[in-house]
């Protein structure tokens, strides 16, 4: 079975380490915060100027001046700090964030990522995504492996305008955990119950498949 959104978040959360500063993008990445293992401490960076993002507020504690990058009302964790947007992106661009998790429309075997617009159809804007992919070394892209119509999003070459060039090394889809190196996708893990054949069928770019592919633990 393909992973649910929650299971994707759960698998990403296994990559968190104690003491990590982490930036989570909008959508599935945001859900990762719900699966932080209890025995470690991580601090969430929100690029609108908050390090140490807490949970959602209650009706009583809601504050219009305290939001995350998805414009949702949030709270501050103990030990949080507030700063302006230039400072926030100094952290990001300067490589101080330990892990970045963000979504995408397409990735390719060269580590390119497209996530901010579909010409003629959808214009959202890149927000902080271009800065994040250019500034971070440790990035996990979360996305669905293929469209509803079975069209692969893991390509030989991205077709949409790029968000970043040659910057993606790890992709977690609803079907597989994949590493990008030396111009190829490498299959690391598969979702429980998903066959290697299905992953091969839905991966357009070159895919290296080892003799045995473990199932993810989710």
């Amino acid at each position: 079975m393909a992973l649910t959104r929650e299971q994707i978040a759960q698998r990403v959360a296994q990559e968190l380490q104690d003491g990590f500063y982490v930036n989570l993008g909008i959508g599935i990445p945001t859900l990762v915060a719900n699966f932080v293992p209890e025995d470690i401490e991580v601090m969430l960076q929100s690029e609108n100027g908050l390090l140490g993002m807490g949970q959602f507020p209650t009706e009583e504690t809601i504050d219009a001046d305290l939001i995350n990058a998805g414009k949702q009302t949030v709270t501050m964790a103990t030990g949080a700090s507030i700063f302006d947007s230039a400072e926030s992106f100094a952290m990001i661009r300067g490589g101080h964030v330990d892990l970045t998790v963000l979504g995408a429309f397409e990735v390719d075997t060269q580590g390119n990522i497209a996530s901010y617009m579909i010409p003629g159809k959808l214009i959202k804007g890149m927000g902080g995504a271009m800065d994040l992919v250019a500034g971070a070394d440790n990035i996990i892209v979360t996305m669905t492996h293929a469209s509803k119509h079975g069209v692969s999003k893991l390509l030989d070459q991205c077709t949409l305008p790029l968000t970043g060039k040659g910057c993606i090394k790890r992709v977690l889809t609803d079907l597989a955990f994949i590493e990008i190196k030396e111009g190829k996708f490498h299959l690391l893990e598969r979702a429980p119950g998903v066959s290697v054949e299905e992953i091969i069928r839905l991966t357009e770019g070159d895919l290296v498949v080892p003799a045995s592919v473990p199932e993810m633990l989710v």
């Binding site: 929100s46 001046d65 414009k71 501050m76 992106f89 804007g125 902080g128 271009m130």
Partner: protein, 233 residues
């Protein structure tokens, strides 16, 4: 003698001198920390042909979205337009010129503009449409693009508290782009929730020194919330 007293008493006075075809830099992220009354004043003035520099463009019926409704904006430089249907419609129809700019680059463009730095190199956007037409250079084996700074004829800013000299304190994530915007306007106008006497703010706690501020006005704010998300108590 006004000295360093920056306080003005009306929004009309606050935005005096804003003319057609000027560039306005606005603080705020989404609807958080936006200079909502200064935007309303621009709407009231019906100033046309504006270039707006702001991370977002509000929502359809609040914030900078109000200026889109009235077609007062010729061009916008922003990073994210995802929540604004009218923005997307005008952009797709070619009625609005849009320069999509990465968020960190946008913040740095304002910072550099205010700091007298004409341009800077960044890896952000290399190899993407953002890099088109820009100088590229390699430092230590990495590719960078040259991004020009931004200054505005006006900067409009929302702060929490100020003294009469225009020293500013922001509150929580309503700070966002406001401090950079404040530095980058030829005329910087700030609206705040409270004005105190000089000396009442702790100099160590001031986020933006009054030197950047030209006009200061006391406002009252709706502070609309874009995504009201709560947990059970």
């Amino acid at each position: 003698m006004a000295g360093f007293d920056k306080v003005v008493s009306s929004y009309q006075e606050a935005m005096a001198g804003l003319n057609d075809n000027m560039t306005v830099i606005a603080g705020g992220f989404g609807l958080c920390g936006i200079p909502e009354n200064l935007i309303s004043e621009i709407k009231r003035k019906k100033t046309q042909g504006l270039t707006i520099v702001s991370n977002n463009c509000g929502v359809d019926d609040f914030g900078l979205g109000l200026l889109l409704q009235d077609r007062q904006i010729k061009k916008i430089i922003a990073s994210y337009v995802g929540e604004n249907a009218e923005f997307e419609r005008q952009m797709m129809a070619g009625e609005l010129e849009v320069e999509l700019t990465p968020q960190g680059t946008l913040a740095e463009k304002m910072r550099a503009g205010g700091a007298g730095i004409p341009a800077f190199y960044t890896a952000t956007g290399y190899g993407t449409p953002v890099a088109e037409g820009k100088e590229e250079r390699v430092f230590n084996g990495r590719h960078y693009i040259l991004e020009p700074a931004i200054t505005g004829d006006f900067a409009i800013v929302k702060a929490w508290k100020a003294d009469r000299y225009g020293n500013l304190v922001f509150r929580k994530t309503a700070r966002n782009f406001n401090p950079m915007a404040a530095t980058a306007g030829k005329i910087t106008v700030v609206e705040v929730e409270e004005i105190v006497e000089p000396g009442e703010l702790d100099p160590d706690q001031i986020h933006t020194p009054g030197i950047y501020v030209n006009r200061l006005i006391l406002g009252s704010f709706e502070k609309r919330i874009e995504q009201r998300t709560v947990r059970d108590a």
